[in-house]
């Protein structure tokens, strides 16, 4: 579903990704772990077609990036630590706007369904700027699944959420966003990703330094695995 070969990304003189190779099968939920500055967000922005690779090959759902970016974007749903929503529009208006951008037919019905899925039907006519951070993230997930994408990209979706809001977001992630879809999620919160992902990859200094299936590791050993992967890069 996602194939990345020898990916490099440079910003001026600074190289952020150093020949990264990455592969995700259909239906996998990959947690991309790594410290701040490892290149997780840069990598996700390239997968989302928001940033252009300097060198290397990126294929998503059989479409090449950046040459077939529009076809890739139709199959992608993206949730980041920012909600990507307009504060001066209501929840319903936001979804209707993005629905029009994706040319979704029977839009009113789809918007009502998505609001129901993320538990915001009662607040559909409220302005997004009046929402709590947790509610904004739930609506952001609604926006991302509105066009029923095959691939979901999450970039630190728990940032800025308290424990209750994070638990609620996890529920929405599992029940709405991740079901049946191919998912890549960046995070440095091991406890949360341990429950959600089917595979853990460690990204450090611009390359994937370690990868392990959830079935191959005791959840309690995830922290040790992560530290070991980072130490391997440092040495």
């Amino acid at each position: 579903m996602i194939e990345v070969r020898k990916l490099y990304k440079r910003f001026g003189m600074k190289t952020v990704l150093h020949g990264l190779d990455f592969h995700v099968d259909t239906g996998e939920f990959v947690a991309l772990l790594g410290p701040n500055g490892a290149g997780k967000t840069t990598f996700l922005r390239i997968l989302a077609s928001l940033s252009r690779p300097t060198l290397g090959e990126v294929w998503i759902s059989g479409h090449h990036l950046p040459s077939q970016a529009a076809a890739v974007r139709r199959r992608l749903g993206v949730v980041s630590h920012l909600p990507l929503l307009y504060g001066d529009l209501t929840a319903e208006e936001n979804l209707r706007f993005f629905g029009r951008m994706y040319s979704i037919s029977e839009l009113n019905q789809r918007v009502a369904e998505v609001l129901e899925l993320v538990g915001l039907s009662a607040r559909r006519r409220d302005l997004v700027r009046t929402f709590s951070r947790g509610m904004q993230q739930r609506l952001a997930i609604g926006r991302a699944v509105l066009h029923d994408p095959d691939v979901m990209l999450f970039d630190e979706p728990h940032t800025g959420l308290d424990q209750d809001a994070s638990a609620m977001l996890d529920h929405v992630l599992r029940e709405v966003a991740a079901m049946g879809r191919t998912v890549v999620m960046t995070s440095h919160d091991l406890a949360r990703t341990g429950d959600l992902a089917s595979r853990f990859d460690v990204l450090s200094r611009g390359v994937i330094t370690a990868s392990i299936q959830r079935s191959q590791i005791d959840p309690n050993q995830l922290l040790a695995f992560y530290r070991q992967a980072l130490q391997g890069t440092a040495s």
Partner: protein, 239 residues
């Protein structure tokens, strides 16, 4: 299994229809948000009225001199107020990462540019239509001249065409408020010169043959910069 609710039908309508649909969606979104917040037009309007008021006190003019400086005062006011609006309009896209949300849509990105530019043009024209009668009252000058209105329309199109493109560049930087006028004013000089000359020509009743070259310059500028923005917007917004 994906949620077993209603099957989502993503239509495969023609690209041109998708282009206009996306463009109109962006215009609708900007107008709806502005109708709620009223941040952009009110800021532009208050600023424009203050500039006119300051000029009114600063320049104590007789009737004859007034007719020669009117177009200059008007275009300085429109340029400053327009910069304020362009900055605010793009900053709204940067808040909460909305610009990324727009760029993730599977549409030709120039549709986003044209949507933003049309929205900015509507806001600028609204402000101009309020400023004109206020100026007429303060300076005791009749500005309701069809020729002048045509110049204001053409000048605003050119200014917004290049301003929307440059504001989408400036918004990526930390110093966006300062950067936009520094980038925009030098590039927009042909618009200001042509607009001021053509406006003065219409207000002083100069022969149309003398005004025509300035109108032609305005039209050429509008066409060239709209075409340039259409071609480069995708590269400007992508990292």
């Amino acid at each position: 299994m994906k949620e077993n609710t209603t099957l989502v039908q993503v239509s495969t309508r023609s690209q041109s229809f998708g282009f206009f649909r996306a463009m109109s969606a962006v215009v609708w979104k900007d107008l709806a948000a502005e109708l709620r917040g009223r941040e952009l037009i009110s800021a532009m309007l208050v600023f424009a009225l203050l500039v006119i008021l300051i000029f009114n006190f600063a320049l104590e003019l007789d009737a004859e001199t007034r007719s020669t400086v009117t177009s200059g005062v008007l275009w300085v006011t429109f340029a400053f107020a327009g910069t304020l609006g362009l900055n605010r309009s793009m900053a709204m896209e940067k808040d909460r990462g909305c610009l990324d949300g727009l760029l993730l849509a599977p549409v030709d990105r120039s549709a986003i540019y044209f949507g933003k530019a049309i929205g900015n043009l509507i806001f600028m024209l609204i402000v101009e239509m309020i400023v004109l009668p206020v100026y007429s009252l303060l300076y005791n000058t009749n500005l309701f001249n069809p020729g002048l209105l045509l110049v204001i329309l053409l000048g605003s199109i050119g200014y917004v065409a290049v301003g929307t493109l440059l504001s989408s560049m400036a918004v990526q930087t930390r110093t966006r408020d300062v950067l936009l006028p520094i980038l925009l004013f030098p590039v927009a000089i042909p618009v200001f010169i042509a607009a001021v000359r053509a406006s003065t020509g219409f207000l002083q009743g100069i022969d149309m043959a003398e005004i025509q070259p300035w109108l032609s310059l305005l039209i050429t500028y509008d066409v060239v910069f709209t075409a340039v923005a259409f071609m480069v917007f995708d590269y400007v917004v992508e990292e």
